[in-house]
């Protein structure tokens, strides 16, 4: 049995098989400032009186915060009222907040073996902790709040094995972009993606989160990395909640297995308008940019800021480029301050924003005008994703994005770093 089947079977109390529809209990029910208001509507329409277990509900106000306009402020106020009425303690915002998928691990709210459903597609991030995290809708979380349950189709699992040594400036972002380029934006639709191999086992948590975070960009139901010492050290530093580590049996079956020799992978860039349009950065003709964004639930982790700072240190952002750096959480922001990274960014000519999803979804803090082009460490480059329908987003890792901000065009980190 693969690990995903083991987690589901343990929650349901019998052995489940791929393809069947099941109802399962869940440990964490997650919503944010743009999906939770609709969940409140559905909850109230059902005339439910109380939440099954308020301690299982986590709300993070991260997309349009600090509130960008009156409408988003109204929505957040409604959420706060609902949380108060229903005694939801896990409501995070402002100086105690951050981007949800970086914040929950940091707060120690998710442990190996959990099932996390979130009304946000990047809920698959928690696979890096050995949990089954999957994106659902607002109605789903409304009903999970009432019943503690969720309906799911038991997924088949595709196994991805990575071996070899990483080239300079190549990280988790490049591995997942390369993989999405290989299998396509629906290559894992309805399926779980298990990431394994010697390369993965050497990666720090920050890069594992990046990989699992983008499982959805291949259509995946969830990502998964089997917990090891690195995972357990991360967990034990943050929570005492009991957890269960599931490991694949030798007779585990997968619907497909794909192997990648990472020593052949250079930093990747996903061209507009799909995350699967990936090419190696060295193959690109000069592409000028107007904006560069380093942040998001994909690449706003401390490691990402360290990499970006190592490139920007002592250099200046191109005068026709706006570089926006967004630490994913307040804790990451503080650590970056302590390490001197924020000073490096400001000295280089970057704008440092408080934690927010902001520009990733064209919300605020860096929306693009018609004809503008951005390189970003975010996760989607759909038409109009960061602003005007005639703007363009190129996806890359933090090193490529930082180097591009300096040179004013999409560039390899090797062009600026020695």
């Amino acid at each position: 049995m693969n690990t995903i089947i083991q987690i589901l079977s343990a929650h349901i109390g019998r052995e489940v098989t791929p393809g069947e529809f099941v109802e399962t209990k869940v440990e964490i029910i997650l919503g944010n400032d743009i999906t939770f208001p609709l969940a409140i509507e559905e909850f109230e329409k059902s005339r439910a009186k109380k939440i099954f277990n308020p301690d299982q509900v986590v709300i993070v106000l991260d997309h349009f915060t600090p509130n960008k306009d009156i409408e988003s402020a109204q929505q957040c106020r409604r959420i706060r009222q609902f949380a108060k009425e229903h005694n939801i303690k896990n409501l995070f915002e402002g100086g105690f907040g951050g981007i949800e998928h970086a914040l929950l691990p940091e707060e120690g709210l998710v442990v190996p073996g959990d099932i996390v459903i979130g009304a946000d597609s990047h809920t698959c991030t928690y696979g890096a902790l050995g949990a089954l995290g999957t994106g659902v809708g607002s109605t789903d979380i409304a009903y999970a709040m009432i019943t503690g349950q969720c309906w799911l189709r038991v997924p088949e699992t595709i196994r991805f094995i990575y071996y070899g040594n990483l080239q300079p400036w190549v990280g988790g972002k490049d591995l997942i972009l390369y993989t999405i380029g290989d299998i396509g934006v629906d290559g894992a639709n309805y399926r779980a993606m298990e990431f394994s191999g010697e390369t993965i086992s050497r990666l720090p948590m920050d890069e594992r989160f990046t990989i699992c975070n983008m499982a959805i960009e291949a259509g995946g139901k969830c990502g998964y990395i089997e917990p090891d010492e690195i995972t357990l050290e991360y967990i034990n530093q943050r929570t005492k909640r009991s957890h269960k580590v599931y490991k694949s049996n030798p007779e585990t079956s997968y619907i497909d297995t794909r192997e990648y020799n990472v020593s052949k992978i250079e930093p990747q860039v996903a061209l507009p308008h799909l995350p699967s349009n990936t090419v190696g950065v060295s193959t690109l003709q000069p592409i000028e940019i107007d904006q560069a964004v380093i942040g998001s639930c994909t690449n706003g982790w401390l490691k990402d800021l360290r990499v970006a700072a190592s490139i920007l240190k002592g250099r200046k952002v191109h005068k026709e480029v706006r570089l926006i750096v967004i630490p994913a959480t307040q804790r990451i922001y503080r650590e970056a301050l302590k390490e001197g990274l924020i000073e490096v960014f400001i000295e280089a000519g970057a704008v440092v924003s408080p934690p927010t999803c902001g520009p990733c979804l064209g919300g605020h803090m860096g929306v693009l005008a018609e004809g503008e082009r951005a390189i970003a460490t975010t996760n989607r480059n759909f038409i109009g994703r960061m602003g005007h329908p005639k703007s363009e987003v190129y996806l890359a890792n933090p090193a490529v994005t930082a180097a591009s901000a300096i040179l004013g065009r999409i560039a390899s980190p090797q062009e600026v770093a020695v």
């Binding site: 059902s46 997309h63 009304a119 994106g135 659902v136 809708g137 009903y143 038409i383 109009g384």
Partner: protein, 165 residues
């Protein structure tokens, strides 16, 4: 339940940001208002072209991207009776069922813009009256048909007074 209407043709990988642009998406929970902007980045006049009961017909991976339920909701509020596609992205799929928007997974390659279609959900087929062809559809699990008949998960839960699938 037989649905009758005209086909409005779209391509592959139609994502949730295209279905309802982020410019409007979260300004309001008023779906009637939001539905006027359905797919406007692809066709600014699309909403005006819809007659009650019409279908959106697309290629593979319809609804990929975010988890936002506004995407199937605006389609439903724009009076589209069902979306036909060769495949759907999974979060969009569950959201559509949960809000009571019928989805039809079938071979859409031969359906053209403006074709008159009859969708027979129970009978498991689409009839393209313009081309006089019948297309088989991948049947939905019975509990999903029950959710759809109840108008979505809210209605379903009320009818069942509990949680069963």
């Amino acid at each position: 339940m037989k649905l009758v209407g005209k086909a409005h043709r779209f391509g592959d990988d139609i994502n949730t940001d295209l279905i309802i642009s982020g410019k409007y998406k979260f300004k309001t929970l008023d779906m009637e208002e939001l539905s006027k902007h359905l797919l406007e980045d692809l066709d600014p006049d699309f909403f005006k072209k819809i007659k009650k009961g019409d279908f959106i017909v697309a290629g593979k991976n319809f609804g990929c991207g975010s988890s936002r339920e506004q995407a199937p909701l605006v389609i439903k509020y724009a009076h589209i009776s069902a979306v036909l596609a060769s495949s759907f992205a999974r979060i969009f799929y569950r959201n559509a069922i949960n809000v009571g928007l019928p989805l039809v997974e079938c071979d859409t390659s031969k359906i053209d813009e403006g074709d008159n279609l009859v969708v027979d959900l129970e009978g498991g087929k689409v009839i393209d009256q313009t081309k006089q062809e019948e297309i088989d559809i991948t049947p939905l699990p019975s509990f999903m048909i029950e959710i759809l008949s109840a108008g979505g998960l809210v209605g379903y839960i009320k009818e069942n007074r509990g949680w069963r699938i």
